[in-house]
Amino acid sequence: MLELTGVSRSFGDVRALDSVSFAVERGRLTGFVGGNGAGKTTAMRIVLGVLSADAGSVSIDGRPVDAATRRTFGYMPEERGLYPRMRVAEQLAYLARLHGVDRATADRRARELLTRLDLVGRADDRLDTLSLGNQQRAQIAAALVHEPSLLVLDEPFSGLDPIAVDTVMSVLSERAHAGAPVLFSSHQLDVVERLCDDVVIIAGGRIVAAGDREQLRAQHTEPRYRLRGGGDQRWLAEVPGLEVLERSEGEALFQADEATAQRALEAALAHGPVTEFAPVRPSLAEIFREVIRDEAPRGRTAVAA
């Protein structure tokens, strides 16, 4: 388990991270969500040791992360970057060797990974001859080629078509199931919602919500229910303790506590057949908007996101 504890970092007068603490469990995909300049990239760079923290610690399985451990991590930075004039497979093998893999293994893994990512046909082409989407795959391969013990990916899905998203996703899940903690950031909240086991939400350099995706949704679920059927539904307004939020065409959205909702269901059944009755859970996007709104905006924007 990767754990950040009280990590802070400032750039000049700007506090990019303010006592950030969260954990990334082994075997789980953790989505890292936040607006522009919220501090995602800074936090990730600190995990990788590319940037140093002013305060706080990063540990893995309870031990502080040192340089040797970091070298087993895999990283895909937000700002994409590989050598444009180097051949793809050669470049991957080079990066694997920098991470301590021997030459023969590095060559073999580079080819395997390219095959897995449907890129093996371009293995001996120069990177800058590849399309942007394929360069993106090569970048993901670069993060994976040394079979990292932990994966940190900054916006791995941006620029990928839906099929590529699925391919990459299955590769990431594989790494997670092999026991590596996987942390990735994304602006595409629907992707995070679909793929992540855990979610960490950061705003203004602070963690505003973190935990199991479903638990988070449950926590942020206001007691809302959707009711379809039950006659003309005008009677709903007379149920005590119940507030109708929306009503149209035999469908209503109302707010009520659990007991009141059950009474409303009984009343509905008495008025006519009910085709749907369900608690309404917010999407990640809604939770995100909610928790972000609660955060007081910072005076200045961060220089490094």
Partner: protein, 371 residues
Amino acid sequence: MSTQNPGRLALLVAEREITTQLRSRAFIVSTAIMLVGILAGIVIGSAVSRHSESSPAGGSGTERVAVVPATAGDLQGLPGFVAVPVADEAAARAAVQDGTVKAALLPGAAGATVRIVALDSAPATLVAVLTRAPAVELISPAAVSDTLRYLVPFGFGIVFLIVVMVFGQTIAQNTVIEKQTRVVEVLLSAVPARVLMAGKVAGGSVLALGQAAAMALVTLLALKITGQNHVISLVGAPVGWFVVFFVVGFVLFAAMFAAAASLVSRVEDTGPVVLPVTVLGLIPFYLVIFGTGSAVLMRVLSYVPFSAVMAMPVRVFLGDAAWWEPPVSLLLLVATAAGVVMLAAMVYERSVLRTGARVRLGDVLGRRAAA
């Protein structure tokens, strides 16, 4: 992982720098052109000088000299002169005046055997053949000809300058490209910044030394072809010192190029930041090639680390340096290089991740500089 010691990582980085460069067609072609240029320069130069050495006596033609009956015998048997008999001194003077002859040989005044009359300058060759030169004994003959006195400093200087500029610029370019393409962030997740820089400097140094060695070999080859073996024996020891100074001096410059380049994020911005480093190489070069006449200046230059690479081997060549001087100067150079490399590593480490506007040197060297 204990297997990843910094030395191995730096070697890996150096290896990539070297193979990338060796695969660059521009590099191979420019090196080939340079080597061919050196070879051609020496061979042609030697042919030209041999030609001009053989010309004074015979030359392309002959000099016409007017003789009167009294002096006709004096010119007989001298190669390169054609005697043009004239009646008397007046006729001889007229012939000189109208240019039909170069000079006139007339009977000498009292005491002298002959007298030469020429138009506006003394006909040196004629004077020479008619004069008996006294024997000359030099107590301490100059070991080195004037041509060599000029060529050797120039050679050392130009080789160092070219190699430093070419490979220094390459290191600077690669540093900026890594920053511009952001690959540096991926690299830094595996390799500490200092190790990355060390690998770059090492790779550049190997290439630089290789190219310098190739130039030296071609020079020796050319001297051998043209039969100038005496030159080879003259430059042997200075070249040995030059190689040692060269390696250390190159590392000094390479580190400065890498650090300077790490301050900017775009290849287009590289020029201005590496300019001061370039100037640090150019000024000593000019001082050394134009300063060989001044022993004091050369002595100073041979101890200043930025010019020592060029100046000290020249002093060894000229026989001006005491045995202990090159080692002392080398020690100074090594110490300076070590200091500059450490400083450069600090600059590199602190600025290599900062993209966007040019990083100010003061910012990264300040005590509270962001890492």
